[in-house]
Amino acid sequence: MAATSPTDEEIIAQIKDGSVELFEVIVSRYQKKLINYIYRMISDFDSAMELCQEVFIKVFNSLDKYNPSFKFTTWIHRIASNATIDWMRKKKIDAFSLDGNDDDDSPSLKQQIPSKDLNPLQTLEMSQLKGRIESAIEELPFIYKQLIILRHINELSYEEIANTVELPLGTVKNRIFRGREMLKAKLTSEMKREARYGK
C-alpha cells in the first residue's frame, strides 16, 4: 500500500514544532510554481529568482502567523503576489501598460525543452506557438495577467485565486473570462497578420 504524502498543513505544523528541515519539502513543492508565476509577472529571470528566494524566507519567517484553517497554497501565493506587486512598485513598472515587448519570446523561454514525440518541424511550430502565447500573456494588463497565470499556469481554483488576491469570487471569474477573451483576440489577430503576410 502506497503511503500518502503529508499535506502542506501537516508539514507546516511539524516545522513549527521544530522540524525545520521539512521546509525543504515546502520549497520543493512550490519553487517551480512560484518562479513561474513571478517570472511571468516581471519578465526578468534573475530578479524572479531573487524575489522567489525572498518569498520563501518571508514564508519561513511568518510561519507563526499562518492560520492552519486556511489553505497553505493560498497563503503562499498571496505572499508571492504581494511581494511581486511591491517589486513592481519599487521598479516603478506600470502594471497597467498595454505596451508589451515586441520580441517573439523572451530568452529564457526560448530555452525550454520541446515536447516529446514531435518531429523537428512540429517541434518548431509548437515552440513558435508557445512563444506567441507567452508574448500575448506578457502583453496583458496586470490585473488579467496575474489571474490568468494563477488559474492556467499555477492551476489554482477560482476560490483559491479569490483568496490569494483578496478579491470577490465574481470579480475573479469576470477578470479571468475577460483575460481569456483578450488573449484569444491577441492570438487571433497575430495569426491573421502572419497569414496575410505569409510569415
Partner: protein, 166 residues
C-alpha cells in the same frame, strides 16, 4: 493588501459585484496554456533557500547567555592575537617592557588613518551585525542608540588603557 498596485481598476464595478456568474470554460485555451513550458529552476535554488532558512533558525534560537559566551570567547581570542602581535613587536624592536610595546603599537596602529578607519569600521560592522541579529524587532533608533553606547564604551576602554600605560 490591495491587489491593485496602481490604485486604478478599469473593470466595470457593476460586473465586479456579480458573485455567481459561471465562467464559460475554454477547453482548447486551457489545454494550450497548461502545456506552456515551465521555467526551469536552477539546481542551486533549493540549497540557497535552505541555507538562509537554517541561518535564520539558528540565529533565532540563540539565547542571551550563549550570545554573551560567544562575545566573551571572541574578545578573549582577539585580545590573545593582539597580545601575540605586541610580543612580536617587542622582539622586533628590542623593547624590554610589554606596556611600552603596547603603547607604541597602539599609537602606530591608531595614528595611521587607514588603520584607524579599518579598526573603527570593523567595530561598527561587528556591532551592527550583532545588534541587527539580536534586536531585529527593535526600532532602528534604539539599535543606533545601542551602537552609540558600544562606541562610547570602546572609547572609554581606550582612554583607560592609555592612562594605565605610562
Amino acid at each position: 493588501m490591495a491587489n491593485d498596485p496602481a490604485g486604478k481598476d478599469p473593470i466595470d464595478p457593476m460586473l465586479d459585484n456579480q458573485t455567481d456568474e459561471d465562467v464559460p470554460e475554454d477547453p482548447f485555451l486551457t489545454e494550450t496554456l497548461s502545456n506552456l513550458s515551465d521555467i526551469r529552476v536552477p539546481s542551486e535554488f533549493l540549497p540557497n533557500v535552505m541555507f538562509q532558512v537554517y541561518e535564520r533558525h539558528h540565529r533565532d534560537r540563540l539565547s542571551w547567555p550563549q550570545v554573551m559566551l560567544i562575545s566573551f570567547i571572541l574578545i578573549v581570542v582577539s585580545t590573545g592575537f593582539f597580545a601575540w602581535d605586541v610580543l612580536d613587536y617587542m622582539k622586533a624592536e628590542g623593547l624590554s617592557g610589554f606596556g611600552t610595546a603596547l603603547d607604541r603599537k597602539l599609537d602606530l596602529v591608531l595614528n595611521r588613518f587607514e588603520g584607524f578607519l579599518s579598526a573603527a569600521g570593523s567595530v561598527v560592522s561587528a556591532g551592527w551585525q550583532l545588534l541587527s541579529g539580536l534586536f531585529s524587532e527593535t526600532p532602528i533608533t534604539v539599535q543606533l542608540g545601542i551602537l552609540g553606547l558600544l562606541l562610547i564604551m570602546i572609547w572609554l576602554i581606550k582612554k583607560a588603557m592609555a592612562q594605565l600605560v605610562p
